[in-house]
Amino acid sequence: MNHPPLNQTQAWMKAVLTVRGDLPQKIHTATELNGLQFENIVKTSPQLSAHRRMDIYAAGYVLRLVDCLTSEYSLLAKFMGEELFEMFAKAFIVSAPSKYWSLCYLGERFEQFLDETKPAFSTSNDTNNNISAEQKALFDLPAQIAKYERAITEVLLAPGMEQMAADSPANASYFFLTGLPAQTKIQTPPCLRTLELDYPILPLIEKLTSEQTYKLPAEKTSYVAITRLNYQLIIKELSPWQYTLLQSCAETVSIEQAALRTSNQLRKHPQTVLGQALNWVPEAIEAGLLTYSM
């Protein structure tokens, strides 16, 4: 029997699902790309036309992935409003079709997409654009919230410290009293994410979570750490030196080395940073921001 090969059929249907437009436009584009004629591919019946049959798949493809993004970016959806969020989610799905078998990675580039699609003037220093700080925040904040929510997803799924009995954060309480030697080895856990943000968004996140009215934050660099302890999320605002110190602990280093790297990067006096680090590291260990070994 003469029929198109399987790979041509699949190329055609993949095109219908993923290209832009309404169903007739999608079918037209797929046919132009692939040469197959719709009426020669999909069976029709009096009960259910071939177009309706194809539309169940084409519409379902987008709706299913929008649902998935809404689930991952629920606070962003609240901030933007359902309709606007859905518009961006659909545009993202069409612009960047999923290339990975796991849905965990579907939203990985959503923050970047939101950042790239905001109006150019919102990132411009050109004051002639005459947009208010509040207007600029409205354009900037979706990508900031997306960055935060993506980090939450990653923290919830990453290997955590729940099985690290020997270095359990509870054991660090002792060091609040005794202090830690500067040679103590420290490292950030795999479930830690540190964020450098253009806005201090934590108060906004809190209001969105509890569905209260909020005030837009003013633009100002802020640092946030998100981690997991006993399967619970821990979210901490960081000072710049704390953020830099955590960045320097991706591999095992001594507190002394981490403090030195931090002081070099921030051009601060090494002894000052070491003193701050020795004071703060026990608290950071207890909060699940660091693991340690003697």
Binding site: I56, D67, S71
Partner: protein
């Protein structure tokens, strides 16, 4: 040892001689494990079901609370791994990373068996995250036979494939789905996960007899059944997994259980998920059905046409 009987295209038309036998244990009555029920299951010792089925992809690359819950439940009940991303019917190469991670998860869970769907989910590296129908042709059949044999060699166990619910058929399909399954199992020794709701949905949408479909399957290869509730959208049935199981599906289940002489039963519920005790109450209707008391439940009808088939389970 893998069977090296490959034709000139590098395909694999026969199962390996060392392939283990299809598991035939009837696990009893189980439910799909969903995160909405984690609190109940972690706070109550008795899970009230015989076994659980997980969506494999929800636990691969997941080292958080979900995996912790799974480890606890594994100590109490058998687990079956059910996947949605094997892409067995695609002409893309098999995804070795996916299969490696699937096998790693299986080593952690030690499932009773691993299943996926007779479908394709992606092409040219793009994933639709949907279960797309295959043209039922000799080419597709030979392609799937070869891929199932390769996957079985990698996983070192028989694969179990589910009949999907479908909304379209191809003009050039010339095999029925039961004919396709008969040839597939004869050439791979794989198992069948019979979703009686999917049979009901596809039969309605394409106008074939659901009873005849079930009669025509190779019953000795069916090792599990799925139950779920569809939605009637006026012109078609959609496999929404968000409703009670309707009477026609219970009757198909009764028929299939009789023909297979009893296999493991699993209730799926993926949207508008009820509290756990209600889910178990729905599952227990399967026992009543097997005792001859088919529940009186109509198919839920909606007027809108934006219903999503097989919702994503996270």
């Amino acid at each position: 040892m893998p069977n090296n009987k490959k034709d000139e295209l590098g395909t694999k038309s026969q199962p390996s001689a060392g392939l283990s036998a299809l598991p035939k244990t009837n696990l009893g009555f189980g439910v799909g494990l969903r995160s909405q029920h984690f609190p109940y299951l972690m706070n109550n010792d008795d899970p009230m079901v015989d076994w659980f089925e997980i969506i494999s992809e929800n636990f691969i690359d997941n080292y958080g609370y979900g995996r912790h819950v799974l480890a606890q439940l594994r100590a109490k009940r058998p687990i079956v791994m059910h996947g949605v991303s094997m892409n067995i019917g695609s002409t893309d190469p098999l995804n070795s990373e996916y299969l490696r991670k699937l096998k790693e998860l299986a080593e952690f869970i030690k499932p009773e068996w691993i299943s996926d769907h007779l479908c394709w989910t992606g092409f040219a590296g793009i994933n639709s995250h949907d279960l797309l129908p295959l043209p039922l042709t000799d080419e597709s059949l030979n392609h799937v036979i070869s891929r199932v044999n390769q996957v079985q060699d990698i996983l070192e166990r028989p694969l179990v494939l589910e009949n999907p619910s479908t909304y379209l058929e191809y003009e050039y399909s010339h095999l029925s789905e039961p004919e396709f399954f008969n040839e597939l199992v004869a050439n791979t020794q794989c198992g069948i996960l019979l979703d009686v709701n999917n049979v009901y949905v596809s039969a309605f949408n394409h106008g074939f007899s659901a009873e005849q479909y079930i009669n025509d399957l190779p019953h000795d290869h069916i090792i599990q059944m799925h139950l779920a509730g569809p939605t009637h959208c006026g012109d078609c049935l959609i496999d929404t997994h968000d409703q009670p199981v309707p009477s026609p599906v219970w009757r198909l289940y009764q028929q299939a259980q009789m023909l297979t002489q009893g296999v493991s039963t699993l209730l799926e519920w993926d949207a508008n998920i009820p509290p756990y005790p209600e889910l178990v109450a729905e599952l227990n209707k399967a026992k009543a059905t097997l005792a001859g008391n088919v529940p009186d439940e109509a198919v839920v009808t909606v007027s809108h046409q934006q219903t999503i088939s097989t919702p994503i389970v996270i």
